[in-house]
Amino acid sequence: MTAPRLLPVETPPEKPRRRLPFSPRHLFLMPVAAIMLVPLLWMVILSLETEVQARSFPPVLIPSGLHFANYPAAWNAVPFGDFFLNSTIYALSTVAGNLLFCSLAAYAFARLRFVGSNLLFIVFLATLMVPYQVLLIPTFLIVKKLGMVDSVGGLIAPNLCSAFGVFMLRQFFRTLPIELEEAARIDGTSRLGILFRIVLPLSLPALATLGIIQFMWSWNDFLWPLIIIDTANHAPLQLGLSMLQGAHSTQWNLLMAGTVMSQIPMLAIFLFAQRWFIRSIAFTGIKQ
């Protein structure tokens, strides 16, 4: 049964106005998007050109033919399979490590009261202000002491937890109503149980954000692998690609073919989780 309608519903009269099939701000955004696309497009074009075309100036924008052979050539020139495997291990391990260790630390900072908790948190935050380059050598020395130089383990270990992740998750945890945790305590849940059964399931947006940011960071990381890895078979993609860059000459077409391959997983993840990516950037207010 529907309630009797007391007032007629007013519908605004339709205005016969010519409208763009898109919003006006797209008039600005579309050219910007096109500009952003240029380097990507050029990378793909170069990867399909011959070595001579790729090296010529002015650049050849329309290749004479599609030289797909560059791809297997690049794959075989260096141990690409190893690079992929190493990058995948590196990215997934650091994502898993960050999600676990950052949540544990973040929960402690968000909810547990212990002596010096605020001071410790400030010290944590302060490390965010130290440039990465400053930390490189001390980190290297520690990893060396641990006997992990030139191994995937040495690649992963220093990146298992980040002050940024702790900070971000702490801020998020603090927005969750404390009563949920109190109710869980009364219902008989331990501290760790509260973290894993109540807090983390409610923090999926923040965890996804941290995971995506960490994955992008690890996948694209070049500097740390450059420092710690010596053997080609232990290199992740970004470092491995540099092996296509010779001291005297570079086969740009092969390098670009390799770069395209290295970016395919990121593009796939982006297409798959576009919503999360956009939310992540909005969420943290940072861009990488």
Binding site: E179, A183, A184, R185, I186, G188
Partner: protein, 371 residues
């Protein structure tokens, strides 16, 4: 005997705020006790200490005879309903109800049986697959009750459970709560600032102000015989009219009002008049002039606001101040509750008779009732 006993319990928060001050309270097994008072009076802190969510600074808390000060909330066999219900948003109603039992590692079959019993008792059967976000306020409230009841706790703690509901639902749930208590007989401590809930639900009510217990007793007794001006001003709606007066040789004078009260010691007093203790018929009673400002007809009665021919004072219930010294007479209206057949016109002055047996007297210096 799972009663609750508080002995000289004090809670001082970091920063020095005394939330609860030397509170002693004995709650019998199966009793329904209300902690009532203005916001910030320490009632919620007291409840949280019983729950184990706050640790008392000094004093002891006993549940069922044993001291529980050092016992964690999970081992106290209490259940609590929070003001905002605190339902787990990522779980269905079924899993919310089952959660406390799963945490206690109860066999799955027994959990299912208990959950379905409680769901039936609270008419939640059709909602078991929904999530809290898909429920109305009243349904959420029932789920919160259910999650507390499912464990069959020794003590049931409720923190303003009805304050987020609309007026009509609140009346329904109030009756429901009372029925539930009669049926299950679980010791219940109920925190509210709503005195209607306090009056209707509690077997006894504890009026708190400024962290201190002001009065403890059955609702009617607290209403009829308030122990001090704070309780007098807080319990009752519309509140009691308080007049500045003086006692001399067994006679109490407050403005036009003169009462014979042999035995009352000389000195400044506060005269308390409930709105319903004033009558339009004057015959032989002490009487005062009442200038009518606003008339609120409620059908069965008329609430009349105006000025009484005596100096009115107010107890600042919001500031938790039971002392008379800080009372201030400016801008307070007198309120009378009259028979609708004698509805006065606004702007007129009427003469109201005072039922002398219903007049309350308080010592102006201490605020305590003179009996």
């Amino acid at each position: 005997m799972p009663g609750v006993v508080l002995e000289d319990v004090t809670k001082v928060f970091p920063g020095g705020t005394v939330a609860v001050d030397q509170l002693s309270l004995e709650i019998a097994d199966g009793e329904f006790v209300i902690l009532v008072g203005p916001s910030g009076c320490g009632k919620t802190t007291a409840l949280r200490m019983i729950a184990g969510l706050e640790r008392p600074t000094t004093g002891t808390i006993r549940i069922g005879g044993g001291v529980v000060n050092e016992i964690s909330p999970r081992d106290r066999d209490i259940a609590m309903v929070f003001q905002n219900y605190a339902l787990y948003p990522h779980m269905t109603v079924y899993r919310n109800l089952a959660y406390p039992l799963r945490q206690r590692r109860m066999p799955r079959r027994d959990i299912d049986k208990r959950v379905r019993e409680v769901a039936e008792m609270l008419s939640l059967e059709d909602l078991l697959k929904r999530r809290p976000a898909q429920l109305s306020g009243g349904q959420r409230q029932r789920v919160a009750m259910g999650r507390a009841l499912v464990r069959e706790p020794d003590v049931f703690l409720l923190d303003e459970p009805l304050s987020n509901l609309d007026a009509k639902l609140r009346v329904q749930m109030r009756a429901g709560l009372k029925r539930l208590h009669t049926r299950l007989g679980i010791t219940t401590v109920y925190v509210t600032h709503d005195q209607v809930e306090a009056m209707t639900l509690g077997e006894r009510i504890a009026v708190l102000s400024d962290g201190k217990l002001q009065q403890l007793g059955p609702p009617q007794e607290v209403y009829d015989r308030p122990a001090n001006v704070f309780v007098a001003g807080f319990i009752g709606s519309p509140p009691m009219n308080l007049l500045r007066g003086a006692a001399r040789g067994g006679r109490v004078t407050a403005g036009q009002l003169v009462l014979e009260r042999p035995g009352v010691p000389d000195g400044d007093v506060v005269v308390g008049l409930r709105p319903e203790s004033m009558r339009t018929a004057v015959d032989g009673m002490p009487a005062v002039d009442f200038r009518v400002d606003v008339v609120e007809p409620l059908g069965d009665e008329v609430i009349v606001h105006g000025a009484l021919a005596a100096e009115l004072i107010a107890v600042d219930t919001a500031a938790n101040d039971a002392q008379v010294g800080s009372l201030n007479g400016s801008g307070i209206e007198a309120v009378a509750r009259l028979d609708p057949r004698h509805r006065p016109a606004e702007g007129t002055t009427i003469r109201l008779g005072i039922e002398t047996t219903e007049v309350h007297l308080f010592d102006a210096a201490t605020g305590l009732a003179i009996r």
